[in-house]
């Protein structure tokens, strides 16, 4: 691999995650973009190009939603590009931002991710009726929750993981979210029993196993390392590894217990970052946690532990903010909310804030130097991975 131009994160911002019917997607996008620019000490005029991430157009009912959002995201009158990998967009958009800078074409790139799910009626789930193969899947009238119930069951069965241990993830993340100013479903008093006794959705999935649909936006400002050294010399956080991978469309042909596509994406990112033993060299992680079992499965896919071992680490407290490997210190999707692409702010944004020592009450105790953020999407088949490092 040729020598790559180095790219830094110099600012991040995000809106409150909640149902925000009174605001347009453009307004949400700009709120997040402005925060990120403010943190970087820049204005929109300084931005060379904009990358947008947003998931299905059907949530808003707007065709070519990226074009519609572009002035809100700061993309009007400049080069503007939208990338799209379903739920994986949250980490794919900053990867696209990375190649905009690393290619040498641009010095300062604004990455904005926006999602507005509340406008989908009666519920955002209705949009997911249109994600299936029209011949093989759609006649069965599948629903995402029961697909994930099958995957969760498979994961529990193959690795002999107990529901109680999985419930601990919801407890940890919803408690972590208490310290996040943007959180939608934080709960300082939640217990394992609350999760286990919550309303059944499609067993074994219960209500408190799932993250909530949400509205919100997040943004990052990326810059070449030279520019970053001038603008934010006190906090140089670079993107040292990027990786992404998609598996076959045919979900019935995949191993539902271990996410091989994620392991490949992670290996790509680690190789680029020069990481040989991720379990030791990664100090803080933000794996995608739309369901509590996904945090465990994604820790394993990220090669932070052996397959089936994440539940044990969670039980032992290793993944708490004061543990050896803090996981989802933001509160994750389970606690802060799941506005699909906009979870950028609690994945890459959170790792940046942790490494820049700007996470406030959420700051983890092990003074991390290297962190990893991951998102997961499409039809349980795609992952994107970013490794950040403090210099």
């Amino acid at each position: 691999m040729a020598r790559l131009r180095e790219v830094a994160v110099i600012g991040a911002g995000m809106t409150v995650f909640a149902s925000r019917l009174m605001e347009t997607g453009k307004e949400l996008a700009w709120e997040a973009a402005k925060q990120a620019l403010d943190e970087a000490g820049l204005s929109l005029e300084d931005v060379d190009a904009v990358v947008l991430g947003t998931a299905p157009d059907a949530f808003d009912g707007i065709h070519k939603k990226g074009e519609n959002l572009l002035d809100g995201a700061g993309g009007a009158n400049r080069p503007y590009m939208r990338v799209y990998t379903g739920g994986g967009t949250a980490v794919m958009a900053p990867i696209a931002g990375w190649w905009h800078v690393a290619s040498g074409l641009f010095d300062i790139v604004l990455v904005v991710c926006e999602e507005k799910m509340s406008s989908a009626r009666p519920h955002a789930q209705s949009v997911f009726a249109h994600i299936w193969d029209p011949i093989l899947d759609r006649p069965l009238k599948p629903n995402l929750v029961w697909i994930f119930a099958m995957e969760m069951q498979r994961y529990m069965h193959v690795y002999n993981v107990k529901k109680e241990d999985i419930a601990l993830v919801s407890v940890k993340n919803k408690r972590n979210a208490v310290d996040h100013p943007c959180a939608q479903l934080a709960d300082p008093k939640i217990t394992v029993e609350d999760v286990l006794n919550s309303e059944p959705m499609a067993l074994p999935v219960r209500r408190l196993d799932i993250s909530p649909p949400s509205d919100g936006a997040s943004a990052l400002v990326l810059a070449s390392l030279d520019v970053a050294r001038e603008l934010v010399p006190d906090r140089i956080v670079t993107i040292d590894g990027v990786g992404w991978c998609i598996d076959t469309t045919m979900w019935t042909n995949r191993d539902l217990a271990f996410p091989k596509f994620l392991a490949r994406a992670a290996q790509q990112a680690y190789r680029m970052a020069g990481i040989k033993d991720p379990a030791k060299e990664i100090h803080v992680a933000e794996p995608y946690d739309p369901f509590n079992y996904k945090e465990l499965q994604h820790m394993e896919g990220l090669l932070l532990c052996e397959p089936g071992e994440a539940a044990k680490l969670t039980r032992e407290g290793v993944t708490q903010r004061d543990g050896r490997l803090p996981v989802c210190p933001s509160g994750g999707l389970l606690g802060v909310g799941n506005p699909i692409a906009a979870t950028l702010g609690i994945k890459v944004g959170e790792i940046y804030w942790q490494l820049a020592r700007k996470a406030g009450k959420r700051q983890v105790k092990n003074d991390p130097v290297t962190g990893v953020a991951q998102a997961w999407g499409d039809l349980m088949q795609f992952s994107s991975v970013i490794v950040l490092r403090r210099r």
């Binding site: 808003d60 065709h63 070519k64 009158n77 080069p79 503007y80």
Partner: protein
């Protein structure tokens, strides 16, 4: 005049060289009931890999598809992209944009040093869409614009009227674009809409969106196109006729229809960036042929002017003088353009680029120009948007 108002935008240093080493494509047709979009893509992909002499499962580092959910009739179309390209368990991303924006993405992935071989795919299966104009209307602002209803191409009619008044271009000059492009299409076996029509016949076709006439609107078509791109040195090793992607720019204006001037600023700014990267100072003197978006006949003239190939209002005169024809000073849309090959939605940009590549490789058969070295392809994302891209190609 806004023509020379804005400051130069600055494109930065260039990374590694990038070249196209393989192209594959299906036929283009107004309907393809016998093939799914996956089969169309597969056919184009197999041909592209054969052309490049590579094995997608062994040699390709990354795949890119250019698609929009609503054209495809899915939420999250990205799910359905990998298998027909050989992209399963590989890096793959959907660009919600035109094929040239996908090409820009591939360019950045290679020039950054991340990857050596990248595949870009775009397709149209627009014949599956039974409510085309309703779907286009959903791209309008849902509060201020979409409720006005009507066929969305009224926006093109309004813009054409404004363009004619601003530049002094005549309706006859726009009609002559159709005669030229449909005539060019007769020499392109890939173009289903070739015809010998006169400017008078175009002029007498009915006004659909006054002053836009029926024959001035590109008919929709299906098809798929796949490009294989490689890092420059590798490209020279793998291919005996690599075509270098020397410049690529893209630009978005405001999404608000009412706030845009009819000068296709998106094309001008995208071209500025691409010219700067490619080191082109005198486009008219240095380009041997161009392919521009002509989904509406007037757009060809407007785009040529935005690209700096004619002053505003002069493209039509150049056309009437024969300068843009096959034997002219600057052949434009020798492929037949969208008027001759069909409006391929997100694949339109790759269709324009395909013609440039075939010409630069000397493979354009009956429409081949004499030893061209540099060509330009330009795309526009269509009504109601102000987004476009420009790519500049050079023969090795």
């Amino acid at each position: 005049m806004r023509w020379d108002r804005e400051p130069e935008i600055e494109m930065k240093m260039r990374g590694r060289e990038v070249a196209i080493i393989g192209v594959g494509y299906t036929n283009f047709n107004s309907v393809t009931p016998d093939l799914s979009w996956k089969e169309l893509t597969f056919e184009a992909a197999v041909r592209a890999f054969e052309d490049a002499g590579i094995d997608p499962r062994r040699d390709v580092d990354s795949f890119i598809t250019c698609a929009e959910d609503y054209w495809e009739g899915f939420a999250i179309f990205d799910e359905f992209t990998p298998d027909q390209l050989g992209g399963a368990l590989r890096p793959m991303v959907t660009v919600a944009g035109d094929g040239l924006q996908g090409l820009a993405t591939a360019y950045m992935q290679i020039s950054s040093g991340l990857f050596d071989i990248v595949v870009v795919e775009a397709h149209s299966k627009i014949s599956d869409l039974l409510t085309y104009e309703d779907v286009v209307l959903l791209a309008f602002d849902p509060v201020y614009e979409a409720p006005l209803g009507g066929h969305p191409y009224y926006v093109a009619g309004l813009e054409m009227r404004e363009y004619l008044e601003w530049t002094g271009t005549t309706e006859e000059e726009c009609a002559a674009v159709v005669a030229k492009n449909k005539g060019n299409a007769l020499r392109n076996p890939l173009a289903p809409f070739g015809a010998r029509v006169s400017t008078d016949e175009v002029m007498s076709s009915p006004y659909l969106f006054d002053p836009l006439k029926e024959l001035e609107i590109a008919p929709l078509a299906d098809g798929a196109i796949v490009f294989v791109l490689a890092e420059g040195e590798l490209a020279r090793r793998l291919s005996d006729k690599p075509v270098f992607l020397e410049g690529i720019g893209w630009w978005s204006e405001s999404p608000w229809i009412g706030s845009r001037f009819p000068d296709a600023e998106y094309a001008r700014r995208a071209a500025q960036a691409a010219y700067q990267q490619a080191g082109i100072k005198d486009p008219l003197g240095e380009l041997d042929l161009v392919e521009v978006d002509d989904r509406f006949a007037y757009k060809e003239l407007q785009h040529l002017e935005a690209l700096g190939l004619a002053r505003p209002g002069e493209a039509g005169q150049l056309l009437l003088e024969g300068a843009l024809g096959r034997d002219g000073e600057l052949p434009v849309n020798l492929s037949g353009g969208s008027l001759g090959m069909g409006d391929l939605v997100e694949a339109g940009g790759l269709a324009r680029a395909l013609e440039i590549i075939l010409q630069l490789r000397g493979e354009a058969q009956g429409r081949q120009v004499d030893e061209p070295e540099v060509g330009l392809a330009q795309s526009w994302r269509g009504v109601p948007h102000g987004t476009g891209a420009v790519a500049i190609f050079r023969r090795c």
